[in-house]
Symmetry: C2
Subunit: 246 residues, 2 copies
DNA sequence: GCAAAAGTGTTGCCGATACACCCATGT
DNA sequence: ACATGGGTGTATCGGCAACACTTTTGC
């Protein structure tokens, strides 16, 4: 454990001293997780603080902005090729006024110049993703002691303006949910129309009409109907569907 | 003229040396201009180069990101309180690979360290605005020799990825055009329905049906009908309308 | 009266909604 | 048979497109 801790400090120090980062810029990912009809969001807990943040990171000088977001997503989930979209850039001066980095650096006993950009105001580019949280392990980084899923309407106290970023990210997800996104590993290979409807309802946070939903989805011609599912219950067996791959 | 040139160099040098700017970050404004049924976009021409760019600028360390965009808009038009919306952040590494700043600095004979961020890759946040180009004077800056309006489908060669930024900005404008935006100084106080329709058609780049357009706009209850306009032509006089201020 | 442009009416289509009914299945 | 829940039919509504008709105006 001690070595882990030293390693943490080492990598933190390295990060802060790095000349290979774009100063004053970060990316933050609202990684939404769906499973069993619950919508969660992945948050990190800072060491020794009762304060949470979005998975975020800085951008290397030779790295595409989107690639930085992909890297953040990968570092926390070890998953690649996921749905990931930029939705807004947050740049108000006071968004980082309670700069938690300062406390962290002090707590770690690191020697960082007071005029270092990590202690100043910085802007952040918000990205939005969606995965199945039961399929993803999560991996905290040197800044954080834990990496955990929180239901979107039961959020803990957030650092910076991350509560606002989550709200905007969720808004983006809701406006952009479609069968392509739903198709990416959120449901089993074969699933019932009810499964898909529950996914939509959970993301949108509202009930939909069963029959109208079915028609709307089928009219997109993105589903293929398979055999029926007999689960032993005393009712008509639903058809299974799968997404048509393009 | 000589003094102006020296002043230019002075302010350029000041800008580059400034410790008060966020490095590697800029804002670029797609300032669309409407008048006489023509849609233009405001471009700057670089000194001694046959290359154009969007009005852009850097962000002061104590300045809101949006305020930086407002400042850029104000510096080029001397107008305030205009429609202005962020639409996308462009962050690919190679977007600044033909860094025109290098040429400019060489041409000016400025002494800038080769590792200065202005010569490196930087990301830019795109903002979109819309004004009446006949009402706005335009003001070039030290970097540029002229500031001029170009029709959106007759663009000259653009620096960086500014052609893409314009395309995205126009797309944003088209998706967000509404009576609120149209109300902001693009038309005279009183105008005919045809005037408004022409504005929409010019921005959207497509013809609309006269009668359906009228119904659609009136159904928003954002217009107030005034007296008729007699212009001496041999046809029924159209009503004048004005926007209802909230 | 006539041409030109504005105002208004009507019809049909499409998508979304809401309600209803039928069908399959295990107890 | 019957309760349960899935599948499908249909009426309605609102928005929009398309077309037609009427009105106003100066020549």
């Amino acid at each position: 454990m001690k070595t882990d801790h030293n390693k943490s400090i080492e990598s933190l120090k390295e990060l802060i001293d790095s000349k290979n980062l774009i100063p004053n810029v970060s990316v933050d990912c609202t990684i939404f997780g769906f499973h069993d009809n619950i919508l969660k969001v992945l948050l990190l807990k800072y060491h020794d603080l009762n304060l949470y943040s979005l998975p975020g990171g800085f951008v290397f000088i030779d790295e595409d902005l989107r690639a930085a977001a992909e890297r953040v997503l990968y570092e926390r989930t070890h998953l690649k090729g996921l749905f990931l979209e930029q939705f807004h850039t947050f740049g108000r001066v006071n968004r980082t006024e309670n700069n938690v980095h300062k406390t962290l650096i002090n707590n770690k006993g690191l020697d960082v110049p007071m005029d270092h950009w990590i202690l100043q105001r910085f802007i952040t580019v918000g990205y939005c993703s969606l995965i199945d949280f039961s399929l993803a392990d999560t991996f905290p980084d040197a800044f954080n002691e834990s990496c955990a899923w929180f239901e979107v309407n039961k959020l803990p106290e957030m650092a910076f303006d991350h509560d606002r970023i989550i709200a905007e990210g969720l808004n983006h997800l809701r406006k952009n949910i479609d069968t392509q996104i739903a198709a990416s590993n959120l449901l089993p290979e074969k699933f019932t129309m009810k499964d898909l409807q529950c996914l939509y309802e959970t993301i949108l946070g509202e009930k939909l009409r069963r029959n109208n939903f079915q028609r709307k989805i089928l009219s997109t011609n993105s589903l293929e109907r398979m055999e029926k599912l007999y689960d032993g219950s005393a009712n008509k067996a639903p058809y299974l569907y799968r997404f048509i791959k393009n």
